[in-house]
Symmetry: C2
């Protein structure tokens, strides 16, 4: 389990509230780790119990108060120790690709539609990553922390390009299949 560590790496950058953390898990860190706000609030309580993070309440006007969390020395030590250990192999779970294994059973029209939507989603993600690349990593000299995040971003860019290309190829294959199924029906 690495939810704890995913939270700690965020707090290592800057102090954040549970709500703000939840937003990070929709974008940056969320590329490798998904988590809902409920999970995050629960985990923050655990981390506080362990003494890895500290909490302070920030009073705000016109908005609810925030509980700001910051990483403690113990938390940083834990991160270091965790990073030395071998990571568990990545888990992939994708229902959509599973459908390819039942290709002779499924409705190809619906599949093609979903594939087209995925293509758009990968395109959008790719555009977002390219924007981040040009806005945040254009400087000639990067800090160590930035170097790490740039490597992650490059992984993301390459990942999106690969799936985008795959979607394009696969769409043409599926369309061929659809034509072959109903020859000259118009």
């Amino acid at each position: 389990m690495a939810l704890a560590e995913a939270i700690l790496v965020c707090l290592n950058e800057e102090d954040l509230s549970g709500y703000e953390l939840a937003k990070r898990f929709d974008t940056s860190v969320g590329f490798f780790w998904k988590a809902s706000h409920q999970q995050i609030y629960r985990e923050l309580a655990v981390l506080k119990d362990k003494g890895w993070v500290a909490a302070t309440t920030v009073e705000q006007e016109g908005k609810p108060n925030k509980h700001l969390f910051s990483i403690k020395r113990e938390g940083r030590q834990h991160l270091k120790a965790w990073a030395i250990e071998r990571s568990a192999p990545a888990t992939h779970k994708d229902d959509f690709l599973l459908k390819l294994y039942a290709f002779d059973v499924i409705d190809l029209q619906a599949f093609a539609q979903e594939l087209a939507d995925r293509r758009l989603a990968h395109q959008a993600r790719l555009a977002l990553y390219e924007k981040i690349l040009s806005k945040r990593y254009a400087a000639p000299k990067l800090t160590k922390a930035q170097t790490g995040r740039l490597l992650a971003l490059r992984g993301g860019l390459s990942y999106e390009r690969h799936w985008l290309a795959w979607c394009n190829e696969s769409l043409s294959v599926v369309h061929e299949q659809l034509l072959a199924q109903r020859p000259a029906k118009a």
Copy 2:
């Protein structure tokens, strides 16, 4: 949840025991869906209760008996209905990539080692997929079911190539960092 469907697509191909299914989840289907034998045995019991699969006991000599499972008409109907619905977005979880977000805190030597191991793993996977491609999909005319699995395989090939390239690039960046950290220490 798509463990049920992951099992059903396997049984749609051929009858299998829980043990044999578990092995599929280490290779073919396992590319999109990971599951342990414990999960599989439990889920098979549920599927049998629902009437989507049937079980028969096969007596064997010198080996324990098998419980062979086969998909029923109701199971195939369920697969069809499931495939029309939109899939949940894929979940990615990778502790290793998370480490990139704590690049200024972690031990780069250990990270480089792990990265090198990942490179080898991607290389091995790629070689495996290339072998499957040439052995099983060399025929000029493929069945519909084969076409689906070929698309999945192409996804896998492209995926491994992309991560392999990323590992190579990243290794050189990490090695540069290591040299910069200890300038002329030999």
